[in-house]
Amino acid sequence: MSVETQFEQPEWINGLCNDESYARERAFHAMMDVWHEPIYRFTRTLLGQHDDAADATQETFIQVLRSIHTFRGEAKFSTWLFTIARRKALDLLRQRKRIQHLNEELAFEAQLHSLQTDPLFDGDKALERLHAAVLTLPERQREVFTLRYFNELPFGDLAQILNLSEGSVKASYFHAKEKIMARVNLD
């Protein structure tokens, strides 16, 4: 099957729509080889906890398999995938509002303590502060900062994923960076 779209898409995309179970499974594994870890890392950075990230990642790929027939190749596959992952992470975040009602300083301290006692977090003091600061940011700023700083996506792609203007994305990134720098440089 030939693919003629604005963006060059991975070969396995059409395989995901194949009616043959074997071809579909092979395409699924090809997709997971490329995207499983990046999507897990993205949701882990947004959500903090391993179990939450695993849930959000699972929901993301199930959604991809359910909705792949709606993907028309008008955007990069990665943009579409991160859009779904972001929604799934936010759904989980809103379901599990753990420390939303704490003030900013208490929320930061709570996140810092959570990372320090997490056996699956292996970072030095600076990384502890960085990730606690990211987890304390408001949702929008957290998404923008994570996608830009950790996933190194261009501002244009972020605007598409978040359905915002590029200027608004840049402003959010600026605010997030200021807050994080203040936290990381506190000592």
Partner: protein, 110 residues
């Protein structure tokens, strides 16, 4: 980029299997999938282009209202129920205002 987040041993292998099993169970009752991107025949492309041009023209004719140029016009044309924003938006605006005020103040000092 190096990440401090670790995962349990063989997490990705077992997680991948769990996702595939869950997806198969959940999508069993869905209709058969259709191809993502169908090959485009030249005639189909021409028809699509023509449809887009006609559609755009028709839409433009239907929506020939002047865009607001003033705050007063915007105020008059905005319905209260359209003004939906979250606490986060509000927080963002307050921060923007503070930043703007800081800039104004610093220029005033100069």
């Amino acid at each position: 980029m190096q990440t401090p987040f670790k995962t349990p041993d063989r997490f990705f292998e077992s997680h991948r299997e769990a996702i595939w099993d869950a997806a198969r169970n959940r999508t069993r009752d869905l209709p058969p999938a259709t191809p993502v991107v169908k090959p485009k025949a030249p005639l189909a492309v021409a028809a699509a282009v023509a449809a887009v041009i006609v559609g755009t023209w028709f839409f433009a004719v239907l929506n020939q209202s002047e865009a607001c140029q003033t705050f007063a016009c915007l105020w008059d044309n905005t319905q209260p129920e359209e003004l939906q924003f979250s606490e986060e938006d509000l927080d963002q605006w307050i921060q923007d205002d503070l930043l703007f005020q800081e800039i104004i103040d610093s220029e005033t000092l100069l």
